[in-house]
Structures are given as structure tokens and as C-alpha cells.
């Protein structure tokens, strides 16, 4: 295929994707509208119109942005901290048998204690300030990242390592120049999974103990029966999660697309 045609296909692909997303969301709001106005007909399930109007009001007052930024900041901090700890541990577990024997009980133990179950402990330890939330996000990130990183190291093809050895590579060169780059797609995929966990965790944590954030907004709206506010928070969560995951996938494609076509 000539180059100009290839570029053409790529471009139409992108427009098709964007068009698909827009249509998909429009459809979602339409179904919501129909369900709320003709099926449920309850004040407890408002149609999108009033919800979006309320959302716009909250944006104009600067309240919605404040909650979103509060939540996102916690996610970003905990996520980066968790990844920074999880990646080296995962690499060590994948590379050295004794480390695996030593640390696998830890990872296998803690990964079955969900972050949500740790909320009480973390509030007791860190109070209801930022630390408890960052701790929870980091906690939920670490184990997912460790496990996928370690799996990635284990999945490095035997021939890749052998090829390096018979080109004269020592242990450290095999690690740094072969095992590490070959593991990057696994690390990024683990981080993407961890990111969706982080969204679950932050809402739960803010519901229970926080002064701001989208979770807190949900809680307050329930207390004061502001049904539109609840839906504004839900829509905001969905859109934020969607946008974050897409950007992450875009980053993975940009950095690691040539590693592995399936990422």
C-alpha cells in the first residue's frame, strides 16, 4: 500500500474512533433520558437535562472543579508512589528466586485484602487528612504493579536472554538491556489496571473520611437529599475514569506500541 493511503487509513481510523465515542455517549444519555422520563418517572432518578444543568451551575461556582482536583491529586500522588515502590520490587521478585520466595507470601497475602478493607486502619493511622488517602491509593497500586512486573520479567523469552549471552552480555547487561525493556509493556499494563483500582478506592475512602473530593460530594448529597448532585458526581467519575484510561492507553501506545501490538 502506498504511504499516503496508509496515512489516510490511520486518519479515518482515528476519526471513526472519535465519532464512535461521541455517538456512544450520545446514545448513553439518550437511553438515560428515555428511561428517566418514560419508564421510572421518579424524582429519585432525574433525567440528564437537570443533572447537566446542575453540573454547569456547580462548575460556574467553582465547586465541581475543586472536588475533581482534590480527588485527582490524591490519585496521582498515591499512584506514583505505589508505582515507584512496586516496579523495583516486581523486578526483584521476577529476577531473583530468593527474593521471590521471601516476598511472594507478602504479595499473595496483601493482594487479597482490598484497599477498601484498609480504610479504617489507615484513618486510625493517618487521620482523615491527605496521608490516609494517598496511603490507600498507593496500597491498591503496589500489588497490581508488583505482580504484573514480576510476571513480565518471567515472560522474557529464553532466546532473547541467550542471544545476549552469546553476544557477550554479563548478568547486569542481560538485566538492564534485555529483561528490563522487555518488561516495560507488562509494567505499563499493570499500571493501567492499578489506575482503575485507584478510582474505586478514592471514592470509597472519601465517602468514609474526607473533607472534599468526589466521594465526599456523593456523601453530602445523600445527607441533604440533593439527588442531582449525586448524579453530577457519578457522571464526573465516569468521564474522568474514561479520559484517564484513554490517555494511559495512548501513552502505552506511544511508548511501547512497537514492543507488543496487543497493548
Amino acid at each position: 500500500m502506498p504511504l499516503f493511503m496508509m496515512r489516510f487509513t490511520v486518519r479515518t481510523d482515528r476519526w471513526a474512533t472519535i465519532g464512535g465515542y461521541i455517538t456512544g455517549f450520545a446514545l448513553l444519555f439518550l437511553v438515560w433520558h428515555l428511561a428517566a422520563t418514560y419508564l421510572v418517572k421518579s424524582t429519585l432518578f432525574p433525567p440528564p437535562g437537570p443533572v447537566l444543568a446542575r453540573g454547569w451551575m456547580l462548575i460556574e461556582d467553582g465547586i465541581l472543579q475543586e472536588q475533581i482536583i482534590a480527588s485527582l491529586k490524591r490519585i496521582a500522588q498515591g499512584f506514583l508512589l505505589g508505582s515507584a515502590i512496586g516496579i523495583p520490587i516486581g523486578l526483584a521478585i521476577g529476577s531473583f528466586k530468593p527474593v521471590r520466595w521471601l516476598l511472594e507470601p507478602w504479595t499473595e497475602f496483601f493482594r487479597f485484602i482490598p484497599a477498601v478493607a484498609m480504610i479504617t486502619v489507615s484513618v486510625i493511622w493517618f487521620g482523615i487528612g491527605e496521608e490516609s488517602k494517598v496511603f490507600l491509593i498507593a496500597y491498591t497500586t503496589i500489588f497490581v504493579v508488583i505482580i504484573s512486573t514480576a510476571a513480565g520479567v518471567g515472560a522474557v523469552g529464553r532466546d532473547k536472554i541467550r542471544a545476549a549471552q552469546c553476544l557477550g552480555a554479563n548478568r547486569w547487561q542481560v538485566f538492564g538491556l534485555v529483561a528490563l525493556p522487555a518488561t516495560v509493556p507488562y509494567i505499563l499494563t499493570g499500571m493501567r489496571l492499578a489506575m482503575s483500582n485507584a478510582f474505586v478506592t478514592i471514592v470509597a475512602a472519601e465517602l468514609i473520611a474526607s473533607n472534599d473530593g468526589l466521594g465526599k460530594m456523593l456523601w453530602d448529597a445523600r445527607l441533604f437529599m440533593q439527588i442531582e448532585d449525586i448524579f453530577v458526581a457519578l457522571v464526573a467519575l465516569g468521564l474522568l475514569g474514561f479520559a484517564t484510561d484513554r490517555s494511559f492507553r495512548f501513552l502505552i501506545r506511544a511508548f511501547a506500541g512497537r514492543f507488543n501490538a496487543t497493548v
Binding site: 532473547k160 552469546c166 525493556p181 512497537r258 514492543f259
Partner: protein, 264 residues
């Protein structure tokens, strides 16, 4: 084809009574038994045998990937301890290429390990890229190359490291017949140019006869071993339809035929 070997005792590689027994859950399996072979500097030796007779096992021991459980393997008179840059390996599949590097950087990987500067590396890699007929394709990543191109890159990567010998495990096994014939021709040419010693594994009789200066036929396992060695004293490039070629082909075929249809 005339061969200059300075006396029989200067073999580059010498396998003496080499054996390999795998022990696993299903018990011990003697894959190779009493395998002896001397490879002279500069020769192209094809190891031919049916599937599962132990060819890869022999190559892995010479490469140093696996230790022999009996006998000894000497390289330049010193026992093989493990893999090293003196033995370049071309693997059967192309999983051994690094997807995150360009073709050129794959070729220059060994040079990078030795700390060569960027410019020098590039220049050498370009030279070997040309040698395997991929001029101008150096910026592509392995995912953008065909199967045949990937095998060319593997060969160039091994050669760029300037090893004493090349170990090749059915490098063209997964290619279509036409591509295989082309690559066989190029390998022959490269071998003549670089004068590397080659240990080449195949189960294709024609391929062995077209490339080798000697063909070693293996007896099937358990306890696979060298059954016979057929010298191929034909000039290069080989005329595959010539009577001489046919004669060699028939000789080798007869040896292999017994293996396929023998007691089983």
C-alpha cells in the same frame, strides 16, 4: 573446494564422547550419547537428522547454554564453560530479536555490549546490514520485518560481533521454499566472504548438501549420536541439478532413509 587444515589436531571445536541426559519428572532421558566430532577452522558443517534426534541438544551444549553430562567439549583446546561472544548463535525462531530496537540497533547490540561508540557501531552495523541485503531497512523494528528479513537480521547480528564460529539451529526452517533458497545462497556467499566456521543444523537434505563442506548424519535417539559423515567436495555455488550434486544427495538420503524407516 579445497580445504586447508593445518593438521588434524588443531580443531577449533572438539566434542569428545559427549552425552546429555535430561532428568525430569518422567525420569531420565538420554538425548545424546557418545557424540564425537572435530570441527576444523573455516569449515561449514551441517548436522542432519530427524526430528527429536538431539540436534538442538548438541548445539546448545556447544553454545554453552546447557552443560554436557558426559564427555567434554573443547573450544581451541579449552573446555566450554558457558555461552560466550566467540560463538555466535542464530536461533530457529525469531523471538531472539529485540522488538524495542531497530534492525540496525539489533545488529549493533553486541558492539554496544563491548562499549563501542555510537558512530562506530552504526557504521559497522550498516556494513552487515548491507551484507545480508537489507540496505536502507535499518530503521525498521522487528515487527515491521518479514520472517526472512528477521533471519537476515539475526545472521547480521551474529556476524557483526565477529565470533570465531556461527552456530545455526534450523535458521531457515520456518521459511517458504523460495525464500529459503535465496537465503541459502546468501549464506553460502557470506560464508565464503567471512571464512567463519559454521555448525549448521537442519533436517532438510537438500539444504545440507547445498551448503556444507561436510554433512553429519545423526542416528535417532534415545542416545542420539553421529552415524556417518559425508564430505561434500563440490565447488560453490552449487548446481543443484548437476549429477555430482544428485550423487551426494542420494548418499545422504540413503543414510537418512534408514533413520526414518528403520526399526521403530
Amino acid at each position: 573446494m579445497v580445504f586447508v587444515t593445518q593438521g588434524a589436531d588443531v580443531a577449533l571445536v572438539s566434542l569428545q564422547g559427549v552425552g546429555k541426559t535430561f532428568s525430569g519428572r518422567t525420569g531420565a532421558w538420554e538425548a545424546v550419547r557418545d557424540f564425537s566430532l572435530d570441527l576444523a577452522e573455516g569449515e561449514f558443517f551441517c548436522l542432519l537428522g530427524t526430528s527429536g534426534c538431539g540436534k538442538t541438544t548438541v548445539l546448545n551444549m556447544v553454545a554453552g547454554f546447557e552443560a554436557a553430562t558426559a564427555g567434554s567439549i573443547l573450544l581451541d583446546g579449552a573446555p566450554v564453560q558457558g555461552p560466550g561472544a566467540d560463538r555466535g548463535v542464530v536461533f530457529q525462531g525469531h523471538d531472539s530479536l529485540y522488538e524495542w530496537l531497530t534492525a540496525l540497533d539489533n545488529i549493533g547490540f553486541g558492539l554496544r555490549l563491548r562499549g563501542l561508540g555510537r558512530a562506530e557501531r552504526r557504521e559497522k552495523a550498516e556494513h552487515f546490514l548491507r551484507m545480508v541485503g537489507l540496505t536502507g531497512q535499518g530503521a525498521k523494528h522487528p515487527s515491521e520485518l518479514s520472517g526472512g528479513m528477521k533471519q537476515r537480521i539475526q545472521i547480521a547480528r551474529a556476524l557483526a560481533n565477529d565470533p570465531r564460529m556461527l552456530l545455526m539451529d534450523e535458521p531457515f526452517g520456518a521459511l517458504d521454499a523460495m525464500t529459503r533458497a535465496v537465503l541459502q545462497g546468501e549464506l553460502s556467499r557470506i560464508w565464503a566472504e567471512t571464512k567463519k566456521t559454521v555448525l549448521f543444523i537442519t533436517h532438510d537434505i537438500e539444504e545440507a548438501c547445498a551448503l556444507a563442506t561436510r554433512v553429519g548424519v545423526m542416528r535417532r535417539g534415545p542416545g542420539g549420536t553421529l552415524k556417518a559423515i559425508v564430505p561434500v567436495d563440490l565447488p560453490f555455488p552449487r548446481e543443484r541439478t548437476s549429477d555430482d550434486f544428485m550423487r551426494v544427495f542420494r548418499d545422504v538420503h540413503a543414510l537418512i532413509h534408514d533413520e526414518i524407516h528403520g526399526a521403530h
